[in-house]
């Protein structure tokens, strides 16, 4: 596997290869990322992954500084997963000057994660577009654990006429159901034992919604939230939404998704589950 830290070096490499499938990451890689890297092979002969902890998508007081970083281990995992090139730009390669030009996806960016983390999605959309422009992929793969992010990237790609296929890969979970996340590393042993309750709560809510119907969503959500908060969680949101636009479902809504973000101690976990 080749590794590049400078944009110019990567661009030179890029000119020598054909179709590229791209896996953008913030590093601290787990099986969820590696599932993306392995799936990428189906979309192009050359697979490129990036590792870049993007300051722009962290709010003040969030965990940018303590976000786990281990580029050497990440490189080994990516090489093993068959990635052809790693693009791990230094911060001043992607932000050589203060960023003043942003991608703004207004409809989605102020909901749910966006409401909890003002500016987060503007930072995500902007860095993903920059990475797309640097890597020039024909396909890009994202994990559906970050469901709203995946939707936002699809929307941006379509609305900005980018010739890139956006692929969403199913969430990879630990045997006890906990969605893999780099932030799971923050959990104490006791918190780690409690953490799978988030997924169990989503699963139970799905069963309840299918049984009781969309009209009861608000009540069922509230019960699920109270149940989590009663166990020491602090729920930011736990809500049933329409998949198409993440708005509150109408009685006629068929395609739904349950999305949740909740804090366990100092760690904020997110997860989601589609309702068939």
């Amino acid at each position: 596997m080749r590794a590049f830290h400078r944009l110019d070096d990567f661009r030179q490499y890029r000119q020598g290869v054909g179709r590229v499938a791209f896996v953008p990451t913030m590093g601290s890689l787990h099986e969820g990322h590696l599932a993306l890297a392995r799936a990428a092979r189906e979309y192009a002969d050359t697979v490129v992954a990036s590792v870049f902890v993007n300051r722009l998508q962290f709010g003040p007081g969030e965990d940018f500084d303590r976000y786990p970083r281990d580029l050497r281990a990440d490189g080994e995992k990516l090489a093993e997963a068959g990635v052809d090139a790693l693009f791990a730009p230094d911060e001043d390669e992607l932000y050589p000057e203060p960023q003043t030009c942003f991608v703004d996806p207004p409809d989605l960016q102020h909901l749910l994660e966006g409401a909890c983390r003002p500016g987060h999605f503007r930072g995500v959309a902007t860095v993903v577009l920059k990475l797309f422009n640097a890597v020039q992929p024909q396909a890009a793969l994202f994990g559906r654990k970050d469901y709203q992010q995946w939707m936002l990237i699809r929307l941006m790609t379509r609305q900005l006429a980018l010739p890139i296929e956006i692929v969403g890969i199913q969430t990879v979970r630990a045997p006890d159901g906990l969605a893999l996340s780099s932030r799971n590393a923050y959990l104490s042993p006791a918190e780690r034992a409690e953490a799978p309750r988030l997924y169990r709560t989503l699963s139970e809510l799905r069963v309840a919604v299918l049984r009781e119907g969309v009209a009861c969503c608000a009540m069922l959500e509230e019960e699920a939230r109270q149940s989590l908060d009663g166990r020491g969680w602090k729920t930011d949101y736990l809500t049933v939404r329409q998949r198409a636009d993440l708005q509150t479902p109408s009685p006629a809504s068929r395609e739904l998704v349950i999305l949740a973000a909740a804090r366990l101690g100092a760690t904020r976990l997110i997860d989601n589950l589609e309702v068939e």
Copy 2:
């Protein structure tokens, strides 16, 4: 010259050619546009021009509906100027759904033209990025008559890591000094006779600034503005700025540009002049 009205057809053509130099226009072409098309040949073997009147950059009450359109004449002019392909998308090819994802260049978009035309530069930046993504050029040429637009496109290209060289071409003027513009077609014969005063005023202001010094800018601007308004113009702005950021110059500023927008009857004209 090939002509394309659908994005998919153009993309198919694009895959068969190498480096592209691109001239985006809103049509109603004059010698200023054709100078861009001819200069483009220096930057690539294939020259692509686009004609698209971009609704997104017109405010309510502006001249979107009456903006002059003559695609047949435009095509003939571009072919004569040696353009290889014309991309003239139908509106629903570039906007198949309401645009909700925008490029926001905050620093520049609220000044001068941006202050007079709220949302204008967001619309410009967004459509230019979409056209870049469709055309995938290695170089793109813009007229410096739209000085702030040219700056904004350079900023956007640099800040979004687009691998595109942005070239600014000098304003083409009528023999009497009037900057060529599609909107000159709106002028009555009497207005057309008066219109060159805008450029004369800029030229006189440049001489005065060079003679009196930057410290006197505010006074000299005010005199120039009053002189224009005394002849029946309505000046939106007429101002000496730093070239680097279009901010008011400090006593130490060296690289300056004078920018003006003024209405003559129902027609709004803009022009600018760099101060050496």
